[in-house]
């Protein structure tokens, strides 16, 4: 069986991307509060929704990244 080694740098990069996604979700929440004129306490009370939204964004981004990486590998193979 082949061992897959994920380097520490890769893990740190993925964590940073996930945190970035949660921050984007937080910004979306701020936009929603301003747009619908609701209360600022929702930043705390809807934190669970923000986190779930962040994870959804991360997964969606992951799919896009996978497609792009696949396309890049295919392109490199054709060129090579």
């Amino acid at each position: 069986m082949k061992n897959i080694i994920i380097p520490g740098r890769r893990i740190a990069r993925e964590l940073l991307i996930l945190i970035g996604c949660v921050v984007i979700a937080l910004v979306v929440n701020i936009y929603a509060i301003l747009k619908y004129k609701t209360e600022w306490k929702e930043l705390v009370t809807t934190l669970h929704i923000t986190i779930v939204l962040g994870v959804i964004i991360y997964i969606a981004l992951g799919i896009v990244r996978l497609i792009l990486a696949g396309a890049a590998r295919l392109f490199r193979r054709k060129v090579g």
Partner: protein, 445 residues
């Protein structure tokens, strides 16, 4: 201020869970109850609470001690289904001694005496009233017997707890009210919703203007069953199934409607001006005389109507009292408030919903331009989270016992009894005579 809910939440603190265990009192349970009543007494002294619900005043009393002077000796007349519930609650009430039981149906009497071995048994209530040392009586008999028993009990100098509805005729209601006025004795009516936490909370919300001015009350009580008790022989039919026969009762009106009409009077702070209605026997055609379905409209001051219906051939909707105002609806039986304009969802939820609708919702072209007025599918707000396990039947007994011990009347109780008692009799007459029946102008509480 949140009088009722605060009281029950702070006072119960888990102790009242013992209510769900229908067992004879044990020392531990009575100790728990004393603790509960002690806390209740402290909080029930609040001025705000007593202004809104003066009949709670006996609950201010600290729980009794063990001295004989603190004991209240009561007799129970009628040990049938409701009587048995009172018996259980009396046994659970600290400082109450069930000195006597009375029932002219011996199997009921013997079953009651088996639960209270020290009590003296009677088959004739007048003999029970003559028993020395008896402080009060609890009357849980067929409706047609209430008036004479109340009058005799007052004459004998006893305090009276009478099951609802008050009496069989309006004249009898008046006679009881008159006798009470002259007696200076305690009177309690078996309208347990006056002591039921969800209703107390509902009243608080209504008074606070959460639903706006009450514009309509719709009440219904639906069951599916023949409403019969097991009858060992045909000659006992009328005695055991008295709720089905006109000589003893007004059936659905006095046994069920009286509760909801009492709530309506209470919330509207008024009595009905008139009533119209129809009733019939359309399902249980088994020899009964009283309607198995009733439909009535009560007219109250300021153009407010109370609509009540009851049937015993379909239980889908169960029982409910819907108190409606322009800003919301309160459902008393389930203790919920439904705002007409509920608070908006959080901004982020609205944004997600908006995106979802934009992406997936089809845009109707040339379709219907109206939305059907179907029931709003909202869960509403729960009115309080008091899990006392009591529908008010226990606290009304405690209030009765405390009032006897303090020898002070329960404020407003006869008024509540008369207003609902008369209103349901008006309803029965309206249905039987097929006419509008107005409030008897000469009736005085």
């Amino acid at each position: 201020m949140n009088p009722a809910a605060t009281i029950l939440r702070r006072a119960s603190n888990g102790d009242m869970k013992h209510d769900s265990t229908p067992s004879p009192p044990v020392l531990n349970e009575l100790t728990h109850r004393r603790e509960f009543l002690k806390r209740l007494a402290v909080i029930a002294g609040s001025t705000a609470l007593l202004a809104e619900m003066p009949w709670w005043s006996p609950l201010r009393a600290a729980p009794p001690g063990d001295s004989p002077a603190d004991r209240v000796r009561v007799g129970l007349v009628g040990v049938g289904s409701r009587g048995n519930l009172h018996l259980t609650n009396l046994l659970r009430t600290p400082g109450v001694e069930i000195a006597a039981l009375c029932d002219d149906y011996d199997p009921h009497l013997q079953a009651g005496l088996a639960k209270v071995p020290g009590a003296k048994g009677f088959s004739e209530y007048r003999k029970m009233l003559d028993m020395p040392g008896l402080d009060g009586v609890v009357i849980a008999t067929p409706l047609n017997l209430h008036a004479q028993m109340c009058l005799d009990a007052f004459s004998a100098g006893k305090h009276v707890f009478c099951e609802k509805s008050l009496a069989y005729t309006i004249e009898e209601c008046q006679a009881i009210a008159n006798a009470y006025r002259g007696s200076k004795k305690v009177f309690q009516i078996g309208h347990q919703r006056l002591f039921h936490p969800p209703y107390l909370r509902a009243l608080e919300f209504a008074r606070r203007g959460e639903i706006g001015d009450i514009k309509q009350i719709r009440a219904y009580w639906h069951r599916n069953g023949n409403w019969r008790n097991p009858c060992p022989s045909p000659e006992l039919e009328h005695r055991l199934n008295w709720r089905l026969y006109r000589a003893y009762s007004c059936g659905l009106m006095t046994e069920l409607a009286s509760h909801h009409i009492q709530v309506a009077n209470w919330f509207l702070e008024a009595h009905p001006l008139s009533v119209v209605g129809y009733g019939s026997i359309n399902f249980w055609k088994d020899g009964r005389e009283l309607y198995d379905n009733v439909n009535l409209v009560y007219r109250y001051p300021n153009g407010v109507h109370v609509i009540f219906d009851s049937l015993i051939s379909n239980r889908f909707y169960g029982a409910e009292v819907q108190i409606m105002g322009p800003k919301g609806t309160i459902e008393g039986e389930t203790g919920r408030l439904f705002a007409e304009k509920p608070p908006p969802a959080p901004g982020i939820v609205q944004l997600i919903n908006s995106l979802e609708h934009g992406l997936f919702e089809t845009i109707p072209i040339g379709g219907p331009s109206w939305v059907p007025d179907l029931k709003k599918d909202t869960k509403g707000i729960v009115l309080g989270n008091e899990h006392t396990g009591d529908d008010g039947s226990y606290l009304e007994i405690v209030a009765f016992a405390n009032a006897i011990r303090r020898n002070e009347p329960i404020p407003n109780m006869m008024e509540q009894a008369c207003l609902s008692g008369v209103a349901v009799l008006m309803g029965q007459t309206a249905m039987e005579q097929g006419r509008e029946v107005t409030w008897p102008s000469d009736f005085k509480v």
